[in-house]
Amino acid sequence: MLLFILLWPLLASLVLFAFKPKQAWVIAFIATAVELVASLVLVIGFDKNASATAAIDLPWITSLGVNFALGVDGISLLLVLLTTVLVPFIVLSAAKHSYTPSFYGLVLMMQMALIGVFTAMDGFLFYLFWEIALIPIYFICLIWGGEDRGRITLKFFIYTLAGSLFMLVALIYLYFQTPGAHSFAIQALYEAGRALPPGEQSLVFWGLFIAFAIKMPVFPFHTWQPDTYSVAPSQGTMLLSGIMLKMGLYGVIRWLIPVVPAGVQEWGLTAVILSVIGILYGSCIAIVQKDFKRLIAYSSIAHVGLISAGIFTLSSIGMQGALIQMLSHGILVFGLFYGIDIIETRVKTRNLAGLGGIRNVAPTFSAVFTIIMLGTVALPFTSGFVGEFLLINSVFQYRAILGVVAGLTIILGAVYMLRSFQQAMLGETNTTTAGFADLTGHEKLVLFPIVILVVAIGIYPDPLLSISESAVSNLLLIVQDFSASAK
């Protein structure tokens, strides 16, 4: 099943090139829907107590100690689910842009790589998928992006690649520490990493952390992000912020904390502080943005900062909150960017100052957008609330003062979201927005399920939380065992 989920998008993307643009969209949607069903089958058959071991383990490059090892535990499964849920919506949302088949081919390749990242149980394989994920998104932004895309996307590419090279060096270093015939298998790397003295663990920590921090991005590694988000086509931005950013967070959970626990204990506080700075920084800059898409890009820095702070507290509620917030953020940010995409295609501008009064002419759109926005500012009974509550709670228990600062995210978030909502939706209609048409049937088809998901997760998050519960406690057990044995 797992192998099918990994390879199906690749297969579909190759088949796609044979079709005409109109058909390509339909084929891509069917392929991603099949993928979603397959992943749901995986969820139903999932044993909640499964640990992170390889369900599929084939020899691949034996001379380098690389195996084709895939597996899922609760943490991986949630992210696979996020990927398979979001990609069909992203494909649906692209319908009106009449993209060529190669666009959908790249989206599907991206999906394959993302699922590979979330399920790889071999360090080298993880690195490969991590890099492969960069290529389709780079070309999506390069070919279909906006003004000055050549320069901005190249910066994005080199920036993230530089980060991953640090990771590669750290992985090779760990690889040479494995006993006997060296191996990249996850357990071997875990053991090799934990056996290192604290000083070397710190070095490995930084090698891996920089790669993950750039991908998320955590302050001060974020400078590629706002430009890339605004220049990318809407679907590219959805992929980037909805799913790709979670690669960095997942990397921290799977490939950083269990590998170098001593390094994490040494530098965890630094990471939390950087993340909290990111929260403040992102929120404050978002407040003064005039471009709606850039505003959401900066708000994304703030949200991801809170998630990463929660992870580095190394507490159960922090991890659980982070996981649920990753899902929630993915869904919400998709909704927001789709909303902006709708506005942009109708009135050809994203400038908040030029908008206004959309609620008067498009009440349904405005209502849907309100719910998604309230989710973003973490109103109770929306998906955003569960995650943010757990995360702020965990940071507060970790260091009260940091918790207070992190808590500002809700207040500041409300400031920039409500301000932009007011500017775009409320007030008098002007010449640009007077002819704003309300949602079409197709757009409703995309947005209504999203709204339902936002509310459903907000009211009853338990099923999702229970999927990852035992995986998270296993992970924390590793860290506690390590610090106990160190004493």
Binding site: W60, I61, T62, S63, L64, S102, Y127, L128, E131, I132, I135, F139, L142, I143, G150, T153, L154, F157, I158, L161, A162, L165, L168, V169, I172, Y173, F176
Partner: protein
């Protein structure tokens, strides 16, 4: 050995083609003979044998490189069809190309310094003529002249070095030199070391590593594009094979004597080639500097002197040559349609001919070392090999220069996906060749194990 004989015979036959008037058959003949040479090389696999009083030895290393050189030439021949067919002197050019290949095969299979010298000369003299084969172009003449002057200078160094080493050890035979050096390692006379450094300089010139690279960009740019492709793939592979044979066999006992020089060469090559490439506006020159830069990475793997680097070298050369020939094929097609090799002439290629653009993209990504393509594993193996021998600083430098490399390879990619287009659509290229090369790049990336394992004893 049989492969070498076939190639030499082919050279003479193709010289006769003009006189005996069977030029029409020549293309088929060349292809057939090259395939035959590859097959003969593979048939000899695993049975090392020495010929002519140990002048040449065909062991697995030589056979693998012989087959590789013939394969590269075959692919190149398909690519360069227009260079042969639409212009005059078809048989002369074929013969020169074939003789260059014969020289290359000798360079990877010699067991005697005299044979090394002969191989290099056979290769170089053919190339001097090929570089100037576009007689009406001033640049082509300049390239030939420059190449010849600098080349003969380097050959002088090499010859002097061989003579000095002979004076110290009393033999041209590299196994005998090895034994002598091994036994008298500490008491070798000064002029032996001078000879060693001179051989190093002569060969460094041939593989165009910095600081002996000054001829390369001008010669590469001035020569006809197919000849440039030939020089940066076939010739480079042969020269590196010779370099490895000399410095991984007969001089290993005195490795400390030249290691520091090789390290300096690596640092210079990586930095100078990659930084200079950033400022180039012609794709042909970018590829020229990139081919210099790749030498730096290969030499990095050769810092490991235990022979385990041979597999890495072979893999790297296969990956590099496949991507280079693909890139040159696209470059030639673009040059034929737009008359220029500038980065601008690639503008909007994706919208004019998506097939060419995608192939070029894959070639560039592979050369830049992006996973999961062949070029990535090449670089990965090099870095892992160097880390294994604790050359951490050099590896960090290599990583940084790879990042710089991405910038100039992506200059071409970004140009191809620009919306504004210029010029006509390129049409003259071999689709089959490009598909095959792309598949090779992908397959080597997905299943690197077989090729890496080929030369590991």
């Amino acid at each position: 050995m049989n492969a070498l004989l076939v190639i030499c015979g082919l050279g003479f036959v193709s010289l006769l083609a003009e006189i005996a008037n069977f030029k029409k058959l020549l293309t088929a003949l060349v292809v057939l003979a090259l395939v035959a040479a590859i097959v003969l090389g593979i048939l000899d696999w695993g049975t090392p044998r020495a010929y002519y009083h140990d002048m040449v030895v065909f062991d697995n290393f030589s056979l693998a490189f012989t087959a590789l050189l013939c394969t590269i030439t075959l692919a190149w021949y398909v690519m360069a069809r227009s260079y042969f067919e639409h212009q005059s002197h078809q048989s002369d050019r074929s013969a020169l190309m074939i003789f260059a290949l014969a020289g290359g095969i000798i360079m990877v299979s010699f067991n005697n310094m005299a044979m090394l010298f002969l191989g290099i000369e056979i290769l170089s003299i053919s190339l001097y003529v090929l570089a100037g084969s576009n007689k009406s172009s001033l640049f082509s003449n300049e390239a030939a002249f420059k190449y010849f002057l600098m080349g003969s200078f380097a050959t002088g160094f090499l010859l002097m070095g061989i003579a000095l080493v002979y004076g110290a050890t009393g033999s041209f035979d590299i196994t005998k030199i090895y034994v002598f050096v091994h036994d008298h390692g500490d008491t070798m006379p000064r002029f032996f070391h001078a000879g060693l450094v001179m051989i190093l300089i002569g060969l460094t010139f041939k593989i165009s590593a910095v600081p002996f690279h000054f001829w390369a960009p001008d010669v590469y740019e001035g020569s006809p594009t197919p000849v440039t492709a030939f020089m940066s793939t076939m010739v480079k592979t042969a020269a590196l094979g010779a370099f490895v044979k000399v410095f991984q066999t007969c001089f290993t006992p005195v490795q400390p004597a030249f290691l520091i020089i090789v390290q300096a060469i690596i640092v210079l090559t990586l930095v100078v080639a990659n930084v200079t490439a950033v400022y180039q506006v012609s794709v042909k020159r970018i590829l020229a500097y990139s081919s210099i830069g790749h030498v730096g990475y290969i030499l990095l793997a050769l810092m490991a002197s235990d022979g385990s680097a041979l597999g890495v070298l072979f893999y790297y050369m296969v990956a590099y040559s496949a991507a280079s020939i693909a890139a040159f094929t696209v470059l030639q097609a673009v040059e034929l349609s737009s008359g220029s090799t500038g980065v601008d002439s690639f503008n909007g290629l994706y919208y004019k001919n998506p097939f060419l653009a995608v192939v070029m993209t894959i070639a560039m990504l592979s050369l830049a070392g992006i996973p999961p393509l062949a070029g990535f594993f090449g670089k990965y193996l090099v870095f892992a090999k160097a880390l294994e021998h604790h050359y951490v600083v050099l590896v960090i430098l290599g990583v940084v220069t790879s990042l710089i490399g991405i910038y100039y390879y992506f200059k071409v990619i970004v140009a191809m996906y620009k919306k504004e287009t210029s010029g006509t659509t390129p049409t003259q290229y071999s689709r089959v060749l490009l598909v095959v090369l792309t598949l090779v790049i992908l397959a080597l990336g997905l299943f690197p194990d077989r090729v890496i394992g080929l030369l590991i004893p």
